[in-house]
Amino acid sequence: MKSLFTKGFCVTLLALWAQLGAAQVNPATIKSRLQGTILDARTKQPLAGAVLKIKGTTHAVSADQDGKFTFNTGQAFPYTLQVSYIGYIQQETVVNGTPVTIFLEESQVQLSDIVVTGYSTQQRKYIASSISSVSGKIVQDQPSGGFNQLLQGKTTGVQVSSNSGVPGGGITFRVRGNNSINASVDPLYIIDGVFVSNADPITAGLGNQQASNPIADLNPSDIENIQILKDANATAIYGSLGANGVVIVTTKRGKRNTNARINFNTIQGWSAAVDKYDVANGPDVARLTNESRINTAIDNGIDPSTITLPFPNPESLPTYDRISGLFLTAKTSNYELSTQGGTDKSTYYISLGYLNQESIVKPSDYTRYAGRLNYDNFLNDKLKVGTSLNFTRSERNLSGSDNSPTGVINSALFPRSYLPIFNEDGTFARYGSFDNHLALIENLDNKAVGWRTIGNIYGEYSFLPELKLRSSWSIDNSSEYDNSYSNTLISAGIANRGSASSSENKNLVLTNEQVLTYIKTFGENKQHNLNALVGNTINTVLNEGTSATGTGFAANSLRSVAVAATRSGSSFRSSSKLLSFFSKVSYTYKNKYIIDGSIRADGSSKFGANKRWGYFPSGGVAWLVGEEAFIKNLNVFDELKLRASIGLSGNQNGIGAYAAQGLWSSGANYLEQPGIAPTQLANPDLTWETTRQFNLGAEFGILKNKLSIVADYYNKYTYDLLLNVPVPYRSGFASYLQNYGAVRNKGYELGINSTNIQTENFSWTTNFNVSFNKNKIEKLASDISLGASGRNISILKQGYAVNSFQLYKQLSVDPQTGNAVYDDVNNDGIITSADRQIVGNALPDYTGGLTNNITYKGLDFSFFFYFQKGNKIMNMNDFFMVHGGTQANIGFLPRQLERWQQPGDVTDIPRLTTYSGNPTANGGAANNYGGNVASLSSRYLEDGSFLRLKTLTLGYTFPTVVSRKIGMNKLRIYAQGTNLLTFTKYGGLDPEVSSQSNNQNTAGYDWATVPQPRTFQVGASVTF
């Protein structure tokens, strides 16, 4: 790889410098000097950074801070000047003397936006693809710690949610549904041209929860805009990487000829739990336990009066409150300092950011230090070089929960409430499998420190005004250094007298890329418009890590693995490569008819030698119907566009680097001698998982574009799934990775932007979007059951959606006997595992958001609702704590009090018992909580739909005259509330939850997880 990377570098550099030498410009004789100002036509505010050039030439200057410019040129007056500025209508003016004042009209419609598409930028109007855009302005107005919060509910076709309330923690990010089963379903993230690694580098045990997300390392304030490529026509150019959608993040850059601007932002926030866990008190736990014991005796045919009750006097039992020790009011602090500006030759954007966020459940927190440098230099008219560099250091204090019984929440929630927190001698008390939550909060020492560099250096050379070569070298280098120490005061360190682990994981992604772009408008009335490109990329991913563990420490203050009595180490390495060639052509006729097509060829080292290369074509057409006379004559539509596209994209992420090879692994050691053993069957035919997507879209604007609507229909069919097909265990293997199976996602999306009122002082805009997606596994070798620590509550089954839940469907609790009656699926009269059935899934039918922005003079007010409907949540807290007495070491939730007690009681919580005889009987006592059903009852599966007031923001921008007086250009202060209101039927703490998020196929569990907090924050933004 290294050699090829070097080779690519040399070639391109050579080409660039060779051209540079040939293209030196002779200093032109100045024939005219034009001075002037460029202003917004409506607000009369200067437009810093607006670009001017003489029509037909490449020499351009841009306006400074006050909108002023000076333009020296070899041409004499008069000449035609082209003035453009992003978000404004380009203007052509004939100038015949200096000075001039030029007014630019703001373009009302998003159809004219410039959109960053695969490897090029295009006007939104002329794109035949489905692309969502989110402006970075949201970031300035509604700041939050993470990029993911910015995207949730803001646009169509993406489902974004946090998996827990832990800051910096895992997120779920899906573009148009889950495409795959064993390969990755995460989108490709591209930040300033860098393909960013999706890997979660944190290895510390956190139960089954993702500890981080790939975009947490990005400071949201640096974002200029985000584009989400959704349909095949947009993503196919990314070929093998684009099947799950592409998220392109562009960060801020300076503008030419602008004075330095310094911006300072700060946020201070306070978060608290909306609801806290409620557990049964001591006397209730005792009563329920007694009742269970009595019922069990009856079931066993024993006279209940002869048994000894475990709690002869339940009233006397105390109640110890563990829950309140768990939560705190968490503080968030954020400070950002940035500067941007530019000269005639160069532009810069430099920022520094600091964020510290505590979790509302002790003791986790998240700190991020982020620095960014974006620099562009226009060496001459033809050559531009630049860089985007992002450095981030993240520090996390981690704390495990969900399926780890020694997690903090588990240790507070599950123990029985009559049991004291401390032993009589003052030491921490522990029960059953659980640790002591206070011991954990005080002693957990689990630090993950990440260093991440995302950087890019590029050179762009214009051979001709229409022909451009861009070459870029990118790096995403992350290094994660995790250290944990379990001292002798917590369960994990008791037996071994302290245990420490230290690991360093490195993830390096190198990408080299060349793109040659040709853009030409020609013909009569410029009716032909051609936009073509050809390019290649070379991509290498290298994962390496080393870890050491040690046990046995002389004292708790000694935490280094080096001084442990027993030490051991481990390491890993994997490397994969991807080589790609691509081309794309887009042709527009008469600014009305658009046709485009692209093709990409990818070769991956992960696949079998026979089938390494995949080819991914796509094509699209669009018709700007609104430009046709017969539509214009209707006087209804200001814009109307219809588009259709179809194409293929591939997926290879998420499978092992050596997945196609037959392997014997080393490390199967015994008696301190090295051993080897077969671990993987060869599949020389392993190849790409392919997604075929069809998309139909319509965009239109009415009422002078005050109402604009985008609607899309798509149908995605993913086939040749990279599937771990279960094989008979007698082969000595558990599964075999092969191309088998298919998944379909189809759905509708609707986005509405409305400018309700727009006057000089008052404006009110509304954005509404909703996305429907239906997922279905079309073909699968056999059912795959998984999830919930071996309880196999999740299932993948042909004909059903991924993330389905399989449980015993509880029909009723018999009012006479109090025993649960289940659906006997095969009607054989008994309850066996054959009677488990799919009773719902974790995927919402639809998700969406509603945003309203209202401004009056300097005041701004906005509120944002997010909603999702139709998803189910498996409430594992109920599963464990409504156990009918079968869990001797676990307390009860108040829901257990609703159990059946006497004939006639109507409830869905069956009679308490631990009877285990006759485990197949339907309506028998054994299956209430144990037996074959073993509590895997649909009574613990709940509706997870919710509507939530996510944010509400009130801000005030001081008038310029006031802020100037105190030496500032702009001053805004604001207050914001997050998660203020939630409407849901879900009985757990928080419906936005996914505890088992380490595996994409086990979504929708709530299991001792930190809930989303309610946050109140105040902030100020100052520009000097």
Binding site: K7, G675, G732
Partner: protein, 446 residues
């Protein structure tokens, strides 16, 4: 040719050069694994492959197999949160129970390793691999395969017999389940071959030797109720001076292990850990406490007339009594106890009781009781002796993979455990196998 042309040619030339190196560029190999084709080729890899087969034995014997032999009985109860253990405790085992699946899968992994050694090692031509060593490696592989099929047969009944290493899925087709007898016959055939190939020395207890083969044969014959053979092979092991009962009882499970008690004991080390203790210890001692000695067993072990010195299997008081057979909480180096010499005494006692040699049978039993510091047995009839031997097995091997298999092979699971449905005396075959393997039929009742 202009300068421009030269540049263009140069550029294209280098691009082409890069493309021709594509094929090589896309080849990647791991640094921690060997390609299947070249896995066993010389002395080093032949040795490593048999070590790998032992590693596979370790995998299923460290925790899952002993769990199956204990929590399913009256000795151990479920005390944790994980329902797979509750299912075993209640003998209501679904077909996807994680522990049975892990054990079943682990056993076949060991078989595949052993099959590979048996298939490839004979062809290794390396002067540094002597014939004697080759024989030893092959003998160990036959033993491991025998043990694996034996463990499958007593848990799941007659199983599908795989005798070739799996290199592709095509070779799997058409192999149906054999009967229990056929499976035991395969075990016997492998033991006979192992006996011919294996050496014997005075110290090795952590790898298979001739005496290990005899011990497993004694057990096999006992299970097949071939009393004379069982007596004969047990005697061959008992008479070997390499083995002797240790005293006190807890000496065999106290570091440094590998006591004269052990006929086969898989060793673990700080680099090769066995954290089975974690399932037995309470959280106040750093464990999970999922497996808890039953009240009945605690009473037996604490009874000086029943448990005697075997009460050292317990620690803790009151509601937190826990089992300490696996006790290296600090280092996780507990061995897996596969065959102890005391088992051979009890096999011979049972065989002799069946053969009508009641006095000798009682004497064998008393050897074990004496070591445990309990008085000699009062049993004198055949029936009483057999019950006494069963009761002795229950406390002697309280936390080892014994009780369940003893009760099911003797048909006593109903009387002792109340498990009247005989279908549940066999574990279910894994759900995913039943689904993915057309040649497999599920055990009745599941």
């Amino acid at each position: 040719m202009t300068l421009q042309h030269i540049k263009t040619t140069l550029f294209l030339g280098i691009v082409l050069l890069s493309i021709t190196s594509c094929k090589k560029f896309l080849e990647e190999t791991p640094n921690n694994a060997l390609p299947t084709e070249t896995a066993i080729t010389d002395a080093g890899t032949a040795r490593a492959a048999i070590i790998g087969a032992y590693d596979r034995l370790q995998e299923y014997y460290a925790a899952s197999y002993p769990t199956l032999g204990t929590i399913t009985t009256d000795n151990v109860v479920f005390n944790g949160t994980l329902s797979q253990y509750l299912q075993l405790d209640q003998n209501a085992i679904p077909t996807d129970n994680v522990i049975t699946v892990a054990a079943y899968q682990g056993i076949y992994r060991a078989i595949n390793s052993a099959n590979s050694v048996i298939a490839y090692v004979p062809a290794v031509n390396d002067p540094t691999l002597s014939n004697a060593e080759k024989d030893r490696i092959l003998g160990e592989a036959y033993f491991i395969r025998a043990l694996s099929y034996f463990d499958l047969a007593r848990g799941w009944g007659g199983v599908q017999i795989q005798l070739e290493p799996t290199t592709s899925l095509d070779g799997l087709k058409g192999i149906k389940r054999s009967t229990l007898d056929q499976t035991y016959d395969q075990v016997l055939a492998d033991l006979v071959r192992a006996e011919a190939l294996l050496p014997e020395d005075a110290t090795t207890r952590n790898r298979a030797q001739k005496s290990t083969v005899f011990a497993l044969r004694a057990r096999l014959h006992l299970y097949r109720e071939q009393w004379a053979d069982a007596e004969n092979y047990a005697t061959q092991v008992i008479n070997n001076p390499k083995f002797a009962l240790v005293k006190p009882y807890n000496a065999f499970f106290t570091a440094p292990f590998q006591s004269t008690e052990s006929v086969l004991e898989l060793a673990f080390s700080p680099n090769d850990r066995n954290a089975f203790w974690n399932l037995w210890y309470p959280s106040s001692a750093g464990g999970q406490y999922t497996l808890k000695p039953s009240e009945a067993l605690v009473n037996k072990l604490n009874d000086p007339l029943v448990g005697g010195s075997r009460k050292s299997l317990l620690a803790g008081t009151g509601n937190t009594v826990y089992g300490v057979l696996y006790n290296t909480a600090g280092t996780s180096t507990d061995p897996a106890y596969l065959i102890r010499i005391s088992e051979l005494y009890l096999i011979r006692a049972e065989a002799r009781a069946h053969l009508g040699k009641l006095t000798e049978a009682a004497a064998e039993l008393n050897t074990i009781r004496l070591r445990a510091e309990v008085p000699p047995t009062q049993a004198s009839t055949q029936a009483a002796l057999l019950l006494a031997i069963e009761a002795e097995n229950a406390v002697e091997f309280a936390f080892e993979a014994h009780r369940w298999f003893d009760l099911t092979r003797t048909g006593r699971a109903e009387a002792v455990l109340g498990l009247s449905n005989r279908n549940f005396w066999l574990f279910p075959l894994p759900l995913s196998d039943v689904q993915s393997d057309p040649d497999l039929t599920q055990n009745p009742g599941y």
